[in-house]
Each structure stands twice: as structure tokens, then as C-alpha cells.
Subunit: 303 residues, 2 copies
């Protein structure tokens, strides 16, 4: 069997929460259904943060209620705290994700507390979820740079990764929130983190703001990572640079990985159609270059 | 001294010839001047193809006449045949480039003859230029795929590279004209070509149509290539897929290479400003993600 990379599709949550428009729950449910039907093994569904913070996600329970119970995909949801976890579980979630930052300034601005305090608050959330048999993912933001502090030391990232892993997270996603990292830095960071967390428990989450996302994914896959986050059609802008590109597009990642001989289980043509569908619905550009190129070829060949 | 990569800036020629609008010669001259002032060591200036084929480049002699004689950069120009070479030399060019395809169908459609016939026609052009002391670059198109034939075998590319090199070309640029290649294929092709042409005489020329350009450059730089072609602001669309991305943006490449600890001699901020300037003049989007991100940061920090 060929080597496999697990794509974690974050478009319906991380993507839509950074788009301008509010998308109706029915449309989110349809997007999630289509993405799972493309063969994506993990489709992050929504977030149980307070609707006061992110109004785009106020319909989290409604979205969860609409997910096909026979879906072939796993559908983690974001939970910021114990209250979010309770709401998520009540809504039927069986897999959750928590988030912390590797930058003190970002942590204070985003969660109103220090990194250590945020980890302290997350420990019981992670433990409660894990005790109930739920899989828990830990997101770390700003792993290769911070919009307020600039450079972030790999040691700071490793410390947070280690803390989340020992608190019970099954998987740690290393997020280059501002998309500023380059392959050498990304590879070095991954190697450092793999000294504390097993490589198979690490995921990479790149934004394409500086155009480096696919090169970074290539470097990290060469280094051994086998889980990558991405967003169909590149859904989601960059909240720290107006008009800039955010999440790397899933279509581009799948095309890269298949070209490397790595399996993803994803039907790229179906995915390109899904990316086109949601881009049209949102009246936005399709930010996947592989998606656009593939659609152009499909329309030429009449498929 | 750190390891160095030579960027061959192709925006004023390959870029502008694929843009919709005709740009006045004075503006082309100004673009070339600004690009050289950014520290780019090689800025392809124009093309002496027949104005009947590419009306955007009918002002080739005028552009050459406007180039600062004290420019720190080298300024190769494209020549399709002996007549083009004569016009180029008469206009003051001291460095030229010829082109051939690795795909029979592309060769026939683009130059109206087979690959072998095109090589036969180019041999005296290359020899004449080389005998006069001019440096000669050989472009090969469709090295990782053809819009008409699909896959292209590495052996076909190696044969053309070998023929151009033994005909007297100083440098061979391997062009993924439709931007369809992925890193494993790119790396393998480069390795194969380096079996016949010394690695230091090979350049890579990637288009970003499928989003893979930077990942491909990373793979090829890891493999040993030290010359990369790119286009400021990603000037130039893809003539084979309407609305698709063409040349990889120089700003993104420079940002990648500097992050890898490789020197380019390029002032990235000056380059980003130049990319923004020409994009504004052409009333088009700036297709460099690193350029846009850097400009956003510069405007925030007031620099």
C-alpha cells in the first residue's frame, strides 16, 4: 500500500469563519456533505465558541444536527472551553479541537490570557473530552511568526505542543497563522516538535499569505509529517492582512501529494467541483489554482 | 559566502507578451530599469520575434535603445531565428535566447516544424551568436507536460537539452509551460538532464497554473539547480487556460530562497514596490502573494 497523508479539511469552520458573509446553516451542511463525499477523511464542521465572538458560527448546533449520521468522514468541532465542550457534546460531536498560541501577545489578544493560563484552562477540557472517549486535537497558532511579535522561537512552540500532548491531545496541529514561514524554518520546527510529540501525532496547518504553503508542506512531508490541514478553494482570508490569501487550498495540496505518489483517498475532480460550487455560492474568487486549472481542463475535454 | 541562486527575471518579455494590453516602450524601459535597480542580475528585456506573431513586442529595438548602458544587469533577448539574431545584435543585444519544445505537437503548432527541424534551424543561430562572443540561453518548453499531448517523457527533454547544449548554448532553461508538474517529476527531470548538461548550466522555469511552482523550485534547488526564472508580480497569464496563473512571481521565489538561506542579491522590498507599480500601471491584480503581504506589512509599519 502506498504511503498515505490524511487531509484535515478546515473550510467549513476555519474557512467560513474568515469569510465576510454569513452562510446559512443549510449551505454549510451541504458543503460538509459534499466534502465528505469527495473522500476527505476529516472535515472540521463548526465551532462552539461564543456566538458573540464569531457570529458566522452561531448556528453550530444546527449544523451538527444536519450532518448525515452515516457520513464516512470524521467531523471534529472547535471548543474554546468547558462550556463549548458541553454544547458540542450535547449537539452530538464525538471529536473536538482546542486551541492555544505559541505567542504571548497573540494569546493575550485572542484569548485574553497568557499562554500558561490558556493551557491551565484547557487541561480539564481536554481531560473531560478524552475521558468521555472523544478524540481531541490541539491547535497551536503563530508557530512560525506572530502578527504582533514577529519571530517565534521553536522552543516556545515545542513547549506548547508538549503541554497539549501531555494534557491528553491525540493530535497537535502546528499553525502558521500568518503564512510567513518558509520551508527550512517549517522543517526545523517540525523536527523539533517531533522530539516531544510522536511524528504521527503532528499535523501541519499552513496559510498561503506569503505564497509558501505548498513548499512548506513539501518540506514537512519529506520530514515525515502525514497529516495536513487545508481549506477547499482556499476558503478563508487572512484576518491580519486585508485582501491577503489565507488557508492553503485543499485542491492544490491533494494535487501536490498525488504527484508525490502519496495517497489521500480524495477524488480531485469532485473536490474541484465542490470548490467551484462554494466559491460561486459565496460570490468570491476560487483561490485554488489546481482547482481552476482542473476545471478549465474538464470544461475543455467536456467531462 | 552563502550559496547563491541566480534569478532570471522574465517579466518584461515572457510576462508582458502574455498580458492583454500593449505596454508603451517607455514603460517597458522603466520596468527594466527598476528591476535591475532591485539587484536582479538578469532581466530578459524583449524578443526579436516577428511583430506579426507577437505585436506586444514590435518595439524590441526601441526598448533595447532605451536600456541604460551602465545597467548592472545582463539583458538577454529572445531570437527565433537568424533574422531575429541579426536584428537583436543590430539593436545592441549582447546576450540572446533561443527556444525549442520537448513536445512534437507543441513544436509544430508553435514553430510550424518538428523538434528536429527546429533544432536544425537553431544550430547556425546559436553558433553565429556564440562565435560573436554572445552568451546564448536555450529555452525548452513543455518539459513536464504539453497542452496537446499530455505527458512528456524525461528522455524527450534530455534529448533536446543535450542537442541545444552541444550546439553551443551556455545555459538550458527547463520550462513547465503549462505549470502542471509536481515536485517529484520536476526533481527527476532535473536529475536526468544533469546527466547530460552540467547542473550549473541548467535553469528551471515554472508556471504556477496548478499552484506547484514554489514547491517545484524547492525540490529543484534541493537537487542542486542554482538558476531560476520568474516574473515580477507574476506578470503573464497562461495562454492555454483562460484566467489561469502563469509565471511564478519573482517576489515569492526570492522570499522562498532567502528563507532557505540562499542569496539572490535582490532587495525584496524594492522588488515588491516594482511589482505593485507595474500591476497598477497595467490595471491588473498583483499576482505575487509575498509581494502583497510585504506591501501590506510595509504600509502598516509606515515604511
Amino acid at each position: 500500500m502506498a504511503d498515505r497523508v490524511t487531509i484535515v479539511e478546515v473550510g467549513p469552520r476555519d474557512g467560513l469563519q474568515n469569510e465576510q458573509q454569513v452562510v446559512p446553516a443549510a449551505e454549510k451542511i451541504e458543503l460538509i456533505r459534499r466534502l465528505a463525499a469527495c473522500g476527505l477523511p476529516v472535515v472540521e464542521a463548526t465551532s462552539f465558541v461564543s456566538p458573540k465572538w464569531v457570529p458566522q458560527l452561531a448556528d453550530a448546533a444546527e449544523v451538527m444536527a444536519g450532518i448525515d449520521p452515516d457520513t464516512p468522514a470524521r467531523h471534529p468541532v472547535l471548543v474554546p472551553n468547558m462550556k463549548g465542550l458541553e454544547r458540542a457534546v450535547a449537539a452530538g460531536a464525538t471529536e473536538v479541537a482546542v486551541f492555544a498560541a505559541a505567542s504571548e501577545s497573540f494569546s493575550r489578544r485572542n484569548t485574553n490570557c497568557s499562554i500558561d493560563e490558556s493551557l491551565e484552562r484547557l487541561r480539564p477540557v481536554i481531560a473531560t473530552a478524552a475521558d468521555a472517549g472523544h478524540r481531541v486535537r490541539g491547535y497551536i497558532s503563530c508557530v512560525l511568526g506572530c502578527p504582533y511579535e514577529g519571530e517565534i522561537s521553536p522552543a516556545a512552540v515545542v513547549a506548547v505542543a508538549e503541554a497539549l500532548y501531555s494534557a491528553g491531545c491525540d493530535e497537535i496541529s502546528l499553525g502558521d497563522t500568518i503564512g510567513i514561514g518558509t520551508p527550512h524554518a517549517a522543517r526545523t520546527l517540525l523536527r523539533d516538535c517531533a522530539g516531544s510529540v510522536p511524528m504521527e501525532r503532528l499535523a501541519v496547518h499552513f496559510h498561503d499569505t506569503w505564497g509558501q504553503a505548498l513548499a512548506n508542506i513539501l518540506a514537512c512531508v519529506e520530514e515525515g509529517v502525514r497529516i495536513a490541514d487545508s481549506s477547499v478553494a482556499g476558503l478563508g482570508g487572512c484576518p491580519y492582512a486585508r485582501g491577503a490569501t489565507g488557508n492553503v487550498a485543499t485542491e492544490d495540496v491533494v494535487y501536490l501529494l498525488h504527484g508525490l505518489g502519496l495517497e489521500t483517498g480524495v477524488d480531485l475532480e469532485a473536490l474541484a467541483r465542490t470548490g467551484d460550487w462554494i466559491s460561486t455560492r459565496l460570490n468570491r474568487d476560487n483561490n485554488s489554482r489546481a482547482g481552476r486549472a482542473l476545471l478549465a481542463r474538464m470544461s475543455t475535454s467536456g467531462t
